[in-house]
Amino acid sequence: MNWRRLNYALHRDIGYISIGLTLLYAVSGLAVNHISDWNPSYRIETVQTRIEPLPAYLDRAEEAIPTILKRLGEKIEYENSFRPDPESIRIFLKGRSILANLATGDVVYDRAVPRPLLYELNALHLNRPKKAWTLVADLYAVALALLGVTGLFMFRERSWLISRGFWLIAAGVAIPLVGVLLL
């Protein structure tokens, strides 16, 4: 096998094996790139309601939890609670939380719902699993580098300076260079 065939085979097979990860990083990359416009991993759902105020419990809010949950029609089962300010109490239920204002009776439920598929893709993109995924991501980076290098030698034209491949490569290299210059 001559070097050109080997280069072609490498480029093709690395390309095949990288498809899954490329799509993962592409989809998640788009999602995470616009993080200032939206939350790519979770949908935050809130709903407001009101119960009868409980001002008598202001100095012992924890004791008001069963009453609050009862008035909301919830089971008297909760994980923890926290008092963010003298008027309010936050009650953590499984998968949700309730912020109740004892003085006004205002209640805000909230929960974070992981976005289907995107949550998992983003978790991998942001390398949440760490150790194992770091190795996968490193291998993918090497594969991309190989894909780039083998791609350099894909065109067959003798007069490479006037070939389409040369100018496309030049344009591809120019993009990050311009980015660096603009920093």
């Binding site: 979770y42 935050i44 759902e45 309601t49 003298p86 998968g95 949700r96 974070a112 760490k130 996968v136």
Partner: protein, 204 residues
């Protein structure tokens, strides 16, 4: 009783309005994708049993790797033996600036977008302290809320002008999906946070 399924979507509405294609993707995933997947698996396992077995093995490995995503330890291992009460840090923060401390408390808020910060409750009422971690190095999951956590990191002082404080609180409100009232920021602010290096969240 308000079931989670009945909850109205309030804060994400603006977001999804700008990304209508997300609904199409969701619709595809929910309805068509399982049918296509099932047919593909049936065809593949009948025609190419060996390759199908290999694919299943790969899928299993990927699932295992993804399952480790919710590990309860984050970042560097904890090294200090005893935690410092949050109240002690907030009472005399200047004495702790630049020092590595370990704090323990209830996770009361988590950055919903990046998982790059959380608030830990103090040992006294109404107290909490922000733990900020480097984006991507540690990613706290939203289900850490309501769980006990032990965190180690370096105490830092943040001095903000009114404008910076406005931007900061607006950003925080966006990340937690809460409403922001600019009137709550009345002037320059000084706050203290812990630059987190490692954490353990219990019960995840």
């Amino acid at each position: 009783m308000i079931e989670p399924e009945e909850m109205e979507t309030v804060n994400n509405s603006t977001t999804d309005r700008f990304y209508p294609c997300m609904n199409i993707v969701k619709c595809f995933i929910d309805s068509i994708a399982p049918i296509v997947l099932e047919s593909a698996i049936k065809f593949y396992t009948t025609r190419y049993p060996m390759k199908a077995a290999l694919s299943l093995l790969l899928a299993g490995l990927l699932t295992m790797a993804a399952a480790t995503a919710e590990a309860r330890n984050y970042g560097d291992p904890l090294t200090l033996k005893t935690p410092t009460p949050v109240s002690a840090i907030l009472k005399n923060p200047n004495a702790f600036i630049g020092k590595t401390v370990q704090v323990r408390g209830l996770v009361v808020e988590v950055c919903a977008k990046r998982g790059c910060w959380l608030y830990l409750s103090g040992d006294k009422p109404f107290q909490k302290i922000q733990i900020k971690v480097v984006d991507g190095v540690i990613v706290f999951p939203m289900n850490a809320r309501g769980k006990m956590a032990t965190v180690e990191g370096i105490v830092e002082k943040l001095e903000m002008t009114r404008q910076q404080a406005l931007t900061f609180h607006r950003h925080m409100a966006e990340e937690t999906g809460q409403k922001f009232d600019p009137k709550t920021v009345t002037g320059p602010e000084i706050s203290y946070q812990i630059r987190g290096t490692g954490a353990t969240v219990e019960g995840l």
